[in-house]
Symmetry: C2
Subunit: 382 residues, 2 copies
Amino acid sequence: MRQPGRMIPVLAGLVLLAAGSDATRGQAPRSPLVSPEVQPDGKITFRLHAPKAEKVVLNSGEMQAALKAASTPLEKGEGGVWSVTVGPLPPGIYDYSFNVDGVVLTDPSSPDVFGNRRGSRGFVEVPGPKGRPRTDEWRDVPHGVVSIHWYTSAATGVRRRLHVYTPPGYGKEADRKYPVLYLLHGSGDNDSHWMLIGRANVIADNLIADGKAVPLVIVMPDGHVRERPPGELDDKPRQEIRAAFEKDLLESVVPLVESAYRIRTDAAGRAVAGLSMGSAQALAVGLGNPEKFAWVGGFSGALRADDPVLARLRSDPARANERLKLLWLAIGKDDVGLKGKRDLDAALKEMGVKHEYHETEGAHRWSVWRQYLAEFLPRLFR
Amino acid sequence: MRQPGRMIPVLAGLVLLAAGSDATRGQAPRSPLVSPEVQPDGKITFRLHAPKAEKVVLNSGEMQAALKAASTPLEKGEGGVWSVTVGPLPPGIYDYSFNVDGVVLTDPSSPDVFGNRRGSRGFVEVPGPKGRPRTDEWRDVPHGVVSIHWYTSAATGVRRRLHVYTPPGYGKEADRKYPVLYLLHGSGDNDSHWMLIGRANVIADNLIADGKAVPLVIVMPDGHVRERPPGELDDKPRQEIRAAFEKDLLESVVPLVESAYRIRTDAAGRAVAGLSMGSAQALAVGLGNPEKFAWVGGFSGALRADDPVLARLRSDPARANERLKLLWLAIGKDDVGLKGKRDLDAALKEMGVKHEYHETEGAHRWSVWRQYLAEFLPRLFR
């Protein structure tokens, strides 16, 4: 049974598969429909077999801006197959689901499905123009390795998991120590999603291959150390959860990866960044421990004005300015958290804490966070 | 666009989540329903919000035998929520989907979703009785690491991926070389699924902790080297695909892992096994190259009577008997491939090739393959 506050292991996955018919061996494929189908011009056709449905719509937060609509109706055709063609869409990665008479449905034909804490969704990719691949697109360059570790947390006493990216060539030079980025996910995700959806490894591979980023190790821990009781608005649990997160990160994750990998342990060789919930965590742990992290990135999420970390920062901004090499903040103009981030920018300015603040196109979405990682990595460890 | 016969890059993943409400930050959870809900006695309740549906049924191949039914109807209750309680079910891992008025649906409430080439499904786990966990259940023992590699294949020229399990303690003894099992997936899956669904790493962790298996490295490559043209029944493409698979395995995968890991390169330190399609591949590459692999396992899948590998074996069975330390075959009594496997057993007996043949309860399913791996690993490298 599942109960709030109890930790149980769960499993979810994403697959991006080899294309083509798989009908020649074993059981028949689940659906013979091709969906989604990406055209060379960036148009995408979605199809669903739902003979008894009265209404089928396509929902996609990521496509919303390009399509200028929150949802797009499909039309019923022959044999009970509903379909719609949208676009052309700009190059990028788009997640989507169907809504069939009020039921949210993951496209059963999609070979590309991922799950997170919000449920599962299909996704579809529009490649960059020939010769100009996206920064988050797989290219024919040397690839790093992503390793999955399981450990028992000092903070919680239970099994947790983390992902580690090591760059191409890692392990070839016995004495080389790599700088390390601790990269934190958002509240809907876990430690796998910066790889699965965020393409952190692909972005790093591409930037390293182009000489735009320093070869580095990226540690992607699980940010959900403790569940917040449902509906809990009191600040105490929030601070307790953050304390548990920092204990897990600093007392379990950091020692584990420093024991298993040849990585730097000085602040100048350590960065911490995150998106949304992970942005708040990165800002708190980074600004709260400038002797441990000299590079801090906050993608979308902010800190509340009454956050104790900001109070400590206000009492001694010189300490942060001496130690921090980069405090990099960015948020999309359509992000629901825009005001909070602007307030943080204003508070840091008022304290005189050196930082960069970027407002970009986009909302609270992975398309924005991939772009931020691609802008942040080249700034690190220089 | 997706076209039969064209290979595109593949990716898959696993997430290990904290359970409980996630409604306190950012967007609302996709569904407030708890589904599936496992009771302490092994009963499971499934729920789906589908106010306009006329008929909702639960489909689960894995539950079918226990429930004595291929599908189970849900009943409509208050607020358009359909539900059904089934079981008690024996300890195990069960995959399932819903069928809503003819549309196959992955449970949107399930935190545990995986996708493969057949589409996505939810899954649910019934733990073993207190103090007697299943062999494929996470336990508080030292855990190995699973690493994901991407490489360009000599056989295909395109990017492919593989997973590698290293046992607890790997890397602590600088000069130790580990024996290695090459473990192949079935036609519906890819290189991630022995970890995601097959729990190969968990099974190995548990058997190693109990001293029942020798610490080993497990290499899980992608078996889909080339797509078979749809409807192609000619034998020529089948042999070409197998040749491409063997070229990829022996000329790309083996050199990659022997360069990246401290593993044995002698036949006595190398095993190959697989399930279904991967069983046929393992039997072909193992029996065809006894100077490279001394331990061979075939779970469910067989070789056709006219297979060239069997013809070569027939011409010199003494060579196989001298070199093979174990040829281990198993299949479930309800497997659709039972006759083919019995024929293989008979052919090997007739040739005088030493082997073990096991017929077990079960069908062509992951529950059986996890059990076979748990029986096969303790036999290796002794």
